[in-house]
């Protein structure tokens, strides 16, 4: 059957300069230009943003939830990557 539904776009908003764009929701739109416009109309009605990104939802490549153990668990024991791992004398501990 012919597809009648407008594609889904994920919307990312930068709430003010200096901050990252953050995912805030989705819209349906027929093309990129209108996606950006309706993202503006839907997600910035209360001055929530100064910049918008839209990405067609099926262009996002996501990690497999089943692969969580091999992807993310190996970082667990690398505690030496964190500054708190190192105990320094009080005089220099603000380092």
């Amino acid at each position: 059957m012919e597809r009648k539904e407008w594609p889904l776009w994920e919307v990312f908003v930068r709430s003010r300069n200096g901050l990252d764009h953050k995912h805030c929701g989705s819209v349906h739109a027929p093309d990129a230009k209108l996606a950006l416009q309706v993202a503006r109309d839907v997600y910035t009605r209360r001055q929530e943003g100064v910049s918008l990104w839209v990405v067609q939802a099926d262009h996002i490549v996501a990690s497999d939830p089943d692969a969580k153990p091999e992807l993310f668990d190996p970082a667990e024991d690398k505690i030496y990557r964190h500054p708190t791992f190192y105990q320094l004398p009080d005089e220099v501990n603000h380092m």
Partner: protein, 334 residues
């Protein structure tokens, strides 16, 4: 706004969603996550019954938002001042936004918005029956904000912590926006109560018509509710219908005093021993009649939604066709 409809049965929307093949290991992991108060995300494994319950609850909630645009939308063109017109339009627009956020949350479960709308338009899906009541005067706009949105907020706040991440995030956004809705309604009524006798009568009349439907919004008594136990376990319904209803009554009766209106319930009185207001018996026949399609607005509300959708078909198709043509042209040029 909100729906009591999560307790109302409907035909389930069948769809291929995230992986739901029953698997004891996955089930144990899922249960542990739920019990620890954690979140389930779209691509995580979930039991089929959890997914179906969520699709039903979220989509009924979404339908309620967009059908809920109609009774208040009925007064936009007749608002008495430009300030009130702007407030009402912004408010009804918000309801549309809430519907949009919720449809998007439901879509993460593997159903499309068009499928969900089709279920609404064909009468398979339910929406909150509160929106089948008519808005007869301008005072109804205030009372809907105060009582209906008031009941909605009480229902919605617990859902901001529900176990399904996309639903919880949509609810956080909705609750932030919703707080203006109840306040503007009360503000509108305060202004009318300071006005003429005729205006005060209008407010009282609206309260008389909306009070009982509002407290019915919390759904059937806990003992008659079919989904509550499982839904509580899943954290997609965290406080019982009766507890929320009592909380609403207690808060609202005090607000009514400030406003200077009375509730149409002779049995409404403070119970010192319970520390709550007692109230009269709810007419559940009336409730089920409206749920089952016999309310004053059921036919018209649905017809208005179907008409908007059908009238818009050529627009949606045109935009797709334009995109298709231009994609083709662009790829030829490349």
């Amino acid at each position: 706004m909100y729906t009591q409809a999560l307790d109302i049965p409907q035909q389930n929307t069948e769809a291929k969603g995230p992986r739901t093949i029953e698997n004891p290991a996955y089930q144990a992991e899922f249960d542990a996550k739920i019990d620890a108060g954690g979140y389930i995300e779209a691509k995580d494994w979930m039991p089929e019954s959890y997914r179906k319950t969520l699709v039903r609850q979220i989509s009924q909630h979404a339908h309620s938002e967009i059908v809920g645009m109609l009774p208040e939308g009925n007064w936009i063109t007749r608002a008495p001042t430009l300030k009130r017109k702007a407030i009402l339009l912004a408010k009804v627009q918000d309801e549309g936004g809430h519907g949009l956020y919720l449809y998007a949350a439901a879509e993460t479960l593997g159903v499309s918005r068009d499928e969900l709308l089709d279920a609404l338009h064909s009468g398979r899906a339910k929406y909150s029956s509160i929106f089948n009541y008519p808005t007869l005067t301008w005072a109804d706009i205030g009372v809907v904000g105060w009582l209906v949105d008031g009941a909605a907020i009480m229902n919605q706040i617990p859902l901001c912590k529900c176990s399904y991440g996309p639903y919880a995030r949509a609810m956080v956004r909705i609750c932030k926006e919703e707080s203006f809705h109840q306040r503007q309604g009360y503000d509108l009524l305060l202004t009318m109560m300071k006005g003429t006798e005729e205006q005060r009568d209008m407010v009282q009349d609206a309260v008389n018509r909306w009070w009982w439907p509002s407290i019915m919004m919390f759904g059937p008594h806990d003992k008659d509710s079919t989904h509550s136990a499982q839904s509580s376990r899943w954290g997609i319904k965290r406080i019982s219908n009766d507890d929320l209803r009592q909380k609403f009554v207690d808060a609202t009766v005090e607000q009514a005093k400030v406003l200077g209106v009375t509730m149409p319930d002779p049995e409404l009185k403070w119970n010192e021993a319970r520390g709550h207001y007692d109230f009269g018996a709810i007419d559940w026949d009336e409730f089920w009649n409206v749920v089952d399609g016999h309310g004053q607005g059921n036919v018209d509300r649905l017809a208005a939604r179907v008409k908007a959708w059908d009238d818009g078909a050529w627009v949606r198709e045109a935009a797709l066709e334009y995109a298709r043509k231009h994609d083709a042209r662009d790829s030829r040029a490349a």
